[in-house]
Symmetry: C2
Subunit: 393 residues, 2 copies
């Protein structure tokens, strides 16, 4: 079978008032209802969770990182053991990124040329080289259902000149990825770049839209720019993308950004936020983010979120989870992670239902009126503290 047969994207419904879409993306490992949030399993594990827990959270697909798996345990080893699905015992769909983002953000050193990128491992300093062809070959060894084109995400901020050069390189690399790709049971997504420049974003979107790819990803957003700018770039991009292909906004995971992304026609998201915030003791509720380490919860016998159906909320109190987090017990990090991932997956389910009912506009308004986002200044400080770029999907 050709990828066309294995990867059908059926748009079930479009919200008439916004650009929100509901659909199904079929893959060799199962169907994915969209909009969808993909938990990140960087090193072949969604941090702190077992695959059965990720399944129980309702995750229809997870993301894993090519750069990390290539370096450790090695893509040869994973191929020998039957591919990533079998290696980690996860039977649902997987998407792997191309390693492009990580070689720039995470490697010890890197030098880029039009052919590819030479870099040193952040683990042991060893020297490696990624090219579009190599990125495709490694992803074929891993065997994910969806594979990403090798791209260059220019740092933010960059000059128009550099951003254009990086965009052009990304386009040439996409053509080489398309030519190099072999496995019919994998679908390739192209990536739109263009930084914070409307004309480049538009040009890049038009280019990717014209390529024979299964889906279109939007890269280079959520890299430190103000939210209105991010939303504007996103709108400009999705306006140029074909309606009959899935759109994936990379590395975005704040609840309010998901809601705004869906309104602009995005179908897929991934982010380390729910897992990373959970490990740091932060949890989402419909009112906003709470810090579980706060003294305020010391004797609180309510769940993190009253009414949530996740394992943490059904079985444990804020007081207990706070104790575990303070005592640096792994279970505390796990319970907060479980809640945060489930929060986003429930949010996607509710969004999908609202789209199907032609009520996405009201749903979005209601959610955003109640949910207090983290102020930009706090977000910036945390980005600094957590090294947010280090692990993005």
């Amino acid at each position: 079978m050709s990828p066309t047969d294995l990867f059908q994207f059926n748009l079930t419904h479009r919200d008439p008032a916004t650009g929100a879409r509901a659909g199904f993306l079929s893959t060799p490992h199962g169907d994915i209802p969209t909009p969808v949030f993909m938990p990140v399993g960087t090193q072949a594990t969604v941090k702190t969770l077992s695959t059965h827990e990720v399944e129980a959270l309702g995750a229809a697909i997870i993301l894993s990182n090519t750069y990390h798996l290539y370096l450790r345990p090695g893509s040869d080893l994973i191929a020998d053991l039957g591919g990533l699905h079998r290696f980690m015992n996860w039977q649902r769909p997987i998407l792997t990124d191309s390693g492009g983002f990580q070689v720039f953000s995470l490697s010890a050193t890197n030098t880029i040329d039009d052919e590819g990128v030479t870099f040193r491992s952040h683990i042991d300093g060893s020297r490696h080289r990624f090219t579009p062809e190599r990125a495709m070959a490694i992803q074929e060894q891993l065997g994910a259902d969806i594979v990403m084109a090798f791209d260059e995400c220019a740092p933010h901020p960059s000059t128009p000149e550099y951003t254009r050069a990086a965009m052009n390189r990304t386009h040439r690399w996409l053509e080489r990825c398309i030519a190099a790709k072999q496995r019919p049971d994998q679908a390739l997504f192209g990536i739109v770049q263009g930084g914070m420049y409307s004309d480049l974003r538009r040009e890049s979107a038009v280019f990717v839209a014209e390529q024979p790819v299964t889906g279109c990803a939007i890269g280079g957003l959520g890299v430190g720019e103000p939210k209105p700018e991010m939303y504007e770039m996103l709108s400009i991009t999705t306006a140029e993308l074909p309606t009959n292909k899935p759109r994936y906004m990379m590395g975005i995971g704040s609840p309010e950004d998901l809601i705004e992304g869906i309104a602009r026609g995005v179908d897929m998201f991934d982010c380390v936020q729910p897992t990373r915030l959970g490990r740091h003791g932060a949890a989402w509720t419909p009112d906003g983010r709470i810090n579980l380490l706060n003294t305020r919860w010391a004797r609180d016998d309510q769940p993190i979120e009253v009414g949530c159906d996740c394992y943490a909320c059904v079985h444990h109190t804020r007081a207990y989870i706070r104790h575990l987090l303070r005592a640096e017990e792994a279970l505390g990090q796990r319970l907060a992670t479980i809640h945060n991932v489930r929060f986003l997956i429930r949010l996607m389910t509710s969004a999908r239902q609202a789209i199907m009912a032609d009520e996405y506009g009201a749903f979005r308004t209601q959610f955003l009126e109640r949910f207090q986002p983290v102020p930009d200044a706090v977000r910036a400080a945390q980005r600094e503290a957590y090294g947010r770029r280090k692990e993005r999907g």
Copy 2:
């Protein structure tokens, strides 16, 4: 109801050839088949595991640490939230130690007198005082089914004079614990001390045997002495203990020690070994301990132990678990912990069946012929490296 009604110990069977015993200990939170291994949940969590996972492993009872919980989150707080069972959402029996061992091994500083012990918290340096009466009151706040007398475990090695003084103090403190104890839904166990001196061991065992306690614990073994010495002290002790009360060997958890302990008439064990070893990447098999980090397992697609029914062995390969451990992923530590705890619980189940079938002698021989224990020298080095005394139950 009186403790006598709530805590029945029925000795179902005694192996005619060895001293091994099989029985049931009933508690307000359920019956415990003996011999039993109790996983350690120091800070109200068996490290890396959820309560449902501990239940699924077949744990009939867990141990938790008074010293740790008193300091954080505080026994007042746990009492306010309905006691330890409710706080951590564990419905089966719990045993709490008295804090005696930890105030000596773990606190920042401590000074002992005949009344009690004054110590500084290892967490924040704050000053506290434990007496037998206080240890009982704290354990009543926690609400475990089985509570332990406040004792002094003399360091090893100690002079006969010091060991006798510590033993005498432990005996006086046991009398005070018996007088102070109030809750009828809790059973008190006394503790035999006496170091490595046969006469003191015998004297202490006789003393504890004569007290109105529900069970008799054996403390101060496995503290660095050679194994033959430990087994000899154990035999001397159990010979003096009443047959109709459960015997609990504290802090012991090597598979070979459990097998030898059962042969000497012990009914209950606890130890951090399965959890701590798991977090360090070591796992038990019927042939002995393996280091999961070893390169040898890099491409091994077998479970940790072929035929084991634990979650880790049913779902994951050595190669995957090794990868997770190398990458310092929490799931790797969890999977190794799950296997090790299940290994000991399966061992106890097999031992019990062998006792019931009058075949314990052969069972013991077969197990010990196959299982290669860790050499004493390696054990001593690891004791040093891991700070083994820091967390013992």
